[in-house]
């Protein structure tokens, strides 16, 4: 596909998601109390969108991933939340 064809197919969808993300960050700002590690994880990933190299989706996923290699001794729950708590001190 040409760049224009990609824009024709996906620009409105990307625009929508970009504004949703901006509105989410505004909503967080207007709310009260301390934010947990998930907000820091999103803030850390945001600059990756404007990086020059073409593996941005992979980079964002890695920024939100547990990078450790050793199995944990026991599970404390079953779920995942989408960001790795260990990424922020």
């Amino acid at each position: 596909m040409t760049r224009d064809q990609v824009l024709d197919l996906y620009f409105m969808d990307a625009r929508c998601k970009l504004i949703e993300l901006a509105a989410f960050l505004d909503r967080v700002d207007r709310s009260e109390g301390e934010a947990d590690f998930r907000l820091a994880a999103i803030r850390k990933a945001l600059p990756l969108l404007s990086s020059a190299h073409a593996e941005r989706a992979k980079s964002v996923l890695m920024a939100l991933s547990d990078p450790t290699v050793v199995p944990i001794s026991a599970a404390t729950g079953k779920g995942a939340c989408g960001a790795w708590p260990g990424a922020t001190p």
Binding site: M1, L61, I72, T76, G82, A83
Partner: protein
């Protein structure tokens, strides 16, 4: 359009979903054993579930003209209880004789614990001893990258395992290459929020090549979309992919992997 849905949890879906899938071109459905959304209290709960997967659900699918196949295991979310897991592993061989069973799955990891890894190794041993295909679930969200690496290590440590007979499911942009480079098949799951969207799935296919990849909807009791595969096939067409390329991805590839088990016959 014709397509195979290689990963769907139909026990959690309504009959309208079967009808919609059939009308969209589905020609076969495969259902891996998974977590019910709650922990089962004993091996008897799994016995009943395996009966449902190998007896009742194929009959329900047949009412809509759809062949139904299944995969058996105790899923990683319940594998933390190793006593229960070993009891369940003990009843699987008798169910492997049932005609719609394609292999062992979806095994894998959830929180990347030592117990989960031990039970994963025992499932792989069971599959090797019974010459079964393997379907692997990779962990969710932040746990996926680490878990996929650990799973690859465990699979590669067992010299009896032929990577061409193993599909590692739920890959995303940060895990697809490591799976394919190691010679395994990779599955891309289409979910509204987590895992991949149709657009990202096609991006991955365009970049990795479509040789050993399949798409699936993995529809279950959570937010999921039974028609995600045909929806993605339409999206491929919008991007200019040929009908033949779409058919190869949504029909040819799952057919090629699943036909390694001679039970996978669809007319």
């Amino acid at each position: 359009m014709r397509y195979i849905e290689p990963h769907a949890h139909m026990v959690s879906r309504i009959t309208d979903d079967y009808e919609a899938m059939r009308m969209a071109g589905c020609v076969a459905i495969c259902e891996p054993a998974f977590w019910a959304g709650f922990d089962r209290s004993s091996v008897d709960g799994f016995y009943d579930y395996f009966c449902q997967l190998t007896d009742y659900e194929p009959k329900r699918a047949a009412k809509f003209g759809l062949p139904h196949f299944s995969w058996l295991c105790i899923n990683p979310k319940e594998s933390e209880d190793m006593g229960l897991a070993r009891d369940v592993l003990g009843i699987i061989p008798e169910f492997l004789k049932r005609g719609n069973v394609l292999g062992i799955g979806e095994i894998g990891l959830n929180k990347n614990t030592r117990n989960e890894i031990a039970i994963l190794e025992e499932h792989i041993d069971l599959a090797a001893r019974h010459d079964q295909l393997i379907l692997v679930h990779t962990p969710h969200l932040e746990d996926k990258f680490k878990g996929t690496n650990l799973i690859l290590d465990v699979l590669r440590a067992d010299s009896r395992i032929n990577p061409g007979r193993v599909i590692i499911d739920h890959v995303e942009e940060h895990t697809v290459d490591m799976v394919l480079d190691a010679g395994f098949w990779a599955g891309i799951t289409l979910y509204p929020e987590s895992k991949a969207t149709p657009a990202r799935a096609i991006d991955m296919v365009e970049r990795a090549g479509m040789k050993n990849l399949w798409l699936n909807c993995a529809c279950d009791w959570g937010r999921s979309e039974p028609l995600a595969v045909p929806r993605t096939a339409i999206e491929m067409g919008r991007r200019g992919h040929s009908k033949e390329a779409v058919d190869a991805l949504v029909y040819g590839n799952p057919m090629r992997f699943l036909s390694q088990n001679p039970r996978f016959q669809i007319s």
